[in-house]
Amino acid sequence: MDNLVTPGSWVVLRLPSDQTKVLQIAKTNTISLGKIGTFASNRLLFRPYNLTYELLDRKGGDKDSDLRIVPASELHEDILVEEAAALLPENAGPSEIVAGDGVEFQLLGENGEVIMRSNRETIDDSARQTLTMEEIETLKKEGTSAGKDLIAKLMLSHTGLEEKTSFSLAKYKLLKTKKYLKRFTVLPLDVAMLTQRMVEQKDASKVLEIREEMLSLIGSWSNIHFSADPIPKARSGRWLVVDETGGLLVAAMAERMGILHQGYTPPEPKRSPQEEAGEELKDLKIFKELDDDINHTTDIQLATSNTLTMVHTNAQPNLSLLSYFNYHPNSPTDRSSREHPLAQRLHTLSWLQLVSPSQDTTYANPPSPLTSEELQSMKSGKRGTYYRKQRRYRKIKQIVDTTHAGGFDGLAVAASMDPISILRHLVPLLRGGASIAVYSSTIESLVKLADLYSTSRRTAFIQSPPAELQGLSSEETARWQGNEDFPLNPTLLLNVSVQSARVNEWQVLPGRTHPLMTARGGAEGYLLTGVRVFPAEGKVEARGKFLKRKGGREYSCWTTDSGAEGQEREVAYEME
């Protein structure tokens, strides 16, 4: 991810109201913040992220505002002053407040003149009059004067500043400051930001109401990390993903694997006239076609490690949120998408292609190869189509075949689809010890899923395996499609458990620290985790009796009366 704001990247502008505005920034362009004003995009480009700017009053004749970087000391000035004040004796009035660290606390008048600085100067009498609601409204509408001016007026209007307690003063100021200041902060658009925005400001149901803390837990529990194997051609660091969040989960995983953010490549500096001419030629139709032909014959080399394999529901994957990272998987000729790290490392296939590839048109019908003479005689458009078909076939064949070969390192799921049906097909594709993490916005489906791996069900399965499994190899048993009593093979996952996490935000201010009064409701969000295991061949003999826990709770361990060596010992039947 770039450290500076670069052309073509998506950025987030956070307004004082905590509302955000997302835009793709381009050179020499105008950015509008609605009522607050407009400014030139070049004012932000190639500057660092996380700076807070203030729109200055427009100069005569200008359409746009100029910007000023607001230093941190100014952002915190209320609290800094308040903290300094708190160090003073009990009944010292604000007139004695002196801010430390060279911070100046000042209230500005209508024309930007200082009414009060560090609370030492007298308050201008004209500012003392009480404002009516209408006056406030007109002041807001005019929007000409800086917000600070308005705050100064509002603050001074009720009573003299010196009569207010620091408590009400700070509260008052905080509220008003948020409402009226013409400030905004420039933030990078990454997965954290996108998640927040989708959940808080957009349609949360589109991303299954997945909150950041849950997204980060999925990442940990599916053990996703960068894993390009040092040994070339080795297959490692491959993860399976089922994503019904429009690409948010894929983006989160890709970010952890280091394949989401592309980084800005500046245009070639100072090109020779010949090169310029070359550029022009590229625009000519004939060269364009030539270029297309080349595009269609050179396959994108699919990576074999540090990859994500996504199984999707529709013919095309829904990964629309990846466009914020300048990746458009459904327009394969898009140049920036071809060069994106995801082009090699994100492999997508449909459930049909996974479960029954022979019924999939693309997979089942390889285009018949043509001789070079035949190709020569073709119109270029047709030739292009031929190449595209060939390329598409080769790609899906490779993806389907490597997926069927299995050996994946982990599985992450965020879907509204029944997780039991997902696991039935995907668990057999995991290597031993692979981690799985299944997210659901509500707990019910995960409770049902966990129940299929309960200790008692597994014990029953081991003690008396279904008849149809007789004589099957362990490989075949792993791929068994289940029956009524055992919808999934309960011996393939260990440690199945369900958890949830929630972040609670606090307000921390001098003397006024407490959790925020309100928070988002809606789906809590749950995560089921487990580990893929291989049961030992043959019947694992477990002897002993169940211990009974208080409250009739089922206990999951056996104890033995007589161990092989005359030793009392517990035999694990794992957790409930």
Partner: protein
């Protein structure tokens, strides 16, 4: 040895000698162990190195080369001793070995009869720390013979199972906290993160996974010297000597020494430079009692000879982890004074759920896991009527109705298996969930803050010169050729379509560089 890759990062498909493996007994009972081909310490079992658990003994031989995730059956082991032994008894052991195996077995029988039994009684079903001893005998190691009971699963290490099984030397940061922290600190492959204090290394391992972007020496992408990968690193500090030493050893054993650098240091006193070198960190995690004392070292430019430990050309993200609110207040106050912004404090509530079937009713008699209260009013009535009937019989002819009682223990193994297999009790009852009996109610408060890159007047002037700001005056728009305008409009439409329903706000039609170039081209041709 071949290149030492970490089993945390490249687990391979099978467990390998000299690498860490996790022996899994049950969810909250996992034993980390470095697998050894031979018993180099020469002090115990005939089968070589052995992991002893209360679920059986597992010679390393039976683990090495097995697929991760394999269920491993316990072995009968042959040794003269069990439990922790001091040097003296270890020596005695060697002598015993020389005297012959018969002696050994006898000794084994004696020593096992005591401790394990005691342990079991004390425990009452709740997991207890297990004494682990990797003891064994070298010389002639014999093959392992499978025991009749007991098994474990063999797992590759992950930061998650390491966190729940590591030897605790301090309080540790658990998965829900470290996951969120690393996410908020934007710790991604290639990042440089500062971490104090390293403590037991829980956060260290999770950070190592997050920053990993290849081992030193693998910076070149596809052999191209121009496209280099930035390798990530965890800069870890610990002032407690033993903890520092232990963690250093673990990091080496785990194959993470190129990724984690641990410095023995009091950071509040001596800052963060390592051999005079700046970590150039963009992420910082402070888990120490007085983070505000460390903060003054974590600033950008100051008068020489001060060298900032921060990456000068990146936003720095910071998190402090403190259990008490007073610590948070003090920290925040110092953060504000030092120019940190977006200061925010959160706490994470985490819960695990117990999922089980609740079976209520009288009809099955006393059965394991069954609450013997009526399942419904109807069942209650039936029971009451039964009692009434018995009363009547007693009053009328003075005979007690004999209680039909099944005296066999309902909880013997045969009965349980029968219930499971024949009656399919795993499908009976109501499927319910609830919070696990013990909840970590408060771990610590997480205070986050951001320090933007420094941006001087000179920087501003430089960028302004490179990319001038074209002022729009009055009503006139920025000049645009008709083709550029058409292109821009088409692009806007396309973009709208792509963004589908998630409407996004593009302030103005986007005019990209290429478009302007395109229009120039056209004018010239």
């Amino acid at each position: 040895m071949t290149t030492m890759t970490s089993p945390f990062l490249f687990p391979d498909t099978v467990a390998q000698a000299d690498k860490l493996a996790i022996v899994h007994l049950r969810r909250d009972l996992q034993i980390p162990t470095i697998l050894k081909e031979h018993d180099e310490d020469d002090e115990g079992y005939a089968e070589g190195k052995v992991v002893n658990t209360r679920f059986g003994s597992f010679p390393h031989k039976t683990l090495i080369g097995k697929s991760w995730g394999s269920q491993i059956l316990a072995s009968k082991v042959d040794t003269g001793s069990r439990g922790r032994r001091d040097q003296k008894s270890a020596k005695k052991q060697k002598k015993d070995n020389a005297e012959g195996p018969g002696n050994k077995r006898q000794q084994y029988e004696e020593s096992t009869s005591e401790t394990p039994r005691k342990k079991l009684r004390a425990e009452d079903g709740t997991p207890v720390e297990v004494a682990i001893d990797d003891t064994s005998v070298a010389k002639e190691e014999s093959d392992a013979v499978a025991a009749q009971s007991g098994f474990v699963h063999l797992l590759a290490p992950t930061p998650e199972n390491w966190t729940s099984s590591l030897p605790h030397r301090t309080q540790v940061v658990y998965t829900p906290d470290y996951s969120y922290v690393l996410h908020r600190l934007k710790v991604r492959p290639g990042a440089q993160i500062i971490e104090v204090g390293a403590g037991s290394g829980s956060f260290t391992h999770a950070s190592a996974r997050a920053v990993f972007h290849g081992y030193p020496g693998s910076e070149e992408v596809n052999g191209s010297a121009t496209k280099r990968r930035k390798l990530g690193k965890v800069w870890s500090y610990e002032f407690h000597e033993q903890r520092h030493e232990k963690l250093q050893k673990e990091i080496e054993e785990h194959g993470l020494d190129g990724i984690v650098e641990i410095t023995h240091r009091d950071v509040c006193e001596n800052g963060f430079l390592v051999n005079g070198e700046s970590p150039e960190a963009e992420a910082i995690f402070l888990d120490l009692p007085a983070p505000w004392l460390a903060l003054p070292h974590l600033v950008r430019s100051k008068a020489a000879p001060f060298v900032s430990p921060l990456n000068p050309s990146a936003t720095v993200h910071l998190c402090t982890f403190s259990p008490c609110i007073e610590q948070v207040q003090k920290t925040m106050s110092v953060m504000r004074q030092l120019g940190w912004v977006d200061i925010e404090m959160v706490a994470i509530a985490h819960k695990r759920f117990e999922i089980r079937r609740e079976r209520i009713g009288i009809d099955n008699g006393s059965q394991r896991g069954l609450q013997s209260t009526p399942a419904s009013v109807d069942e209650a009535l039936q029971r009451l009527l039964e009692v009434e009937g018995n009363f009547k019989v007693f009053h009328e002819n003075g005979t007690k109705v004999p209680k039909q009682k099944d005296n066999t223990n309902p909880n013997n193994r045969a009965k349980i298996i029968e219930n499971l297999v024949e009656k399919k009790v795993y499908k009976e009852g109501k499927l319910v969930h609830r919070t696990e009996p013990e909840v970590k109610n408060h771990t610590s408060y997480l205070t986050f803050a951001i320090l933007p890159q420094e941006w001087t007047a000179e920087d501003e002037a430089r960028v302004c010169a490179e990319l001038p700001i074209v002022a729009r005056k009055g009503d006139c728009e920025v000049a645009m050729s008709s083709r550029a305008m058409r292109k821009a409009a088409a692009k806007a439409v396309r973009e709208k379509a792509e963004a589908a329903k998630s409407r996004r706000a593009v302030a103005q039609p986007v005019i990209s560089n290429d478009d302007t170039k395109g229009s120039k081209t056209q004018q010239r041709t």
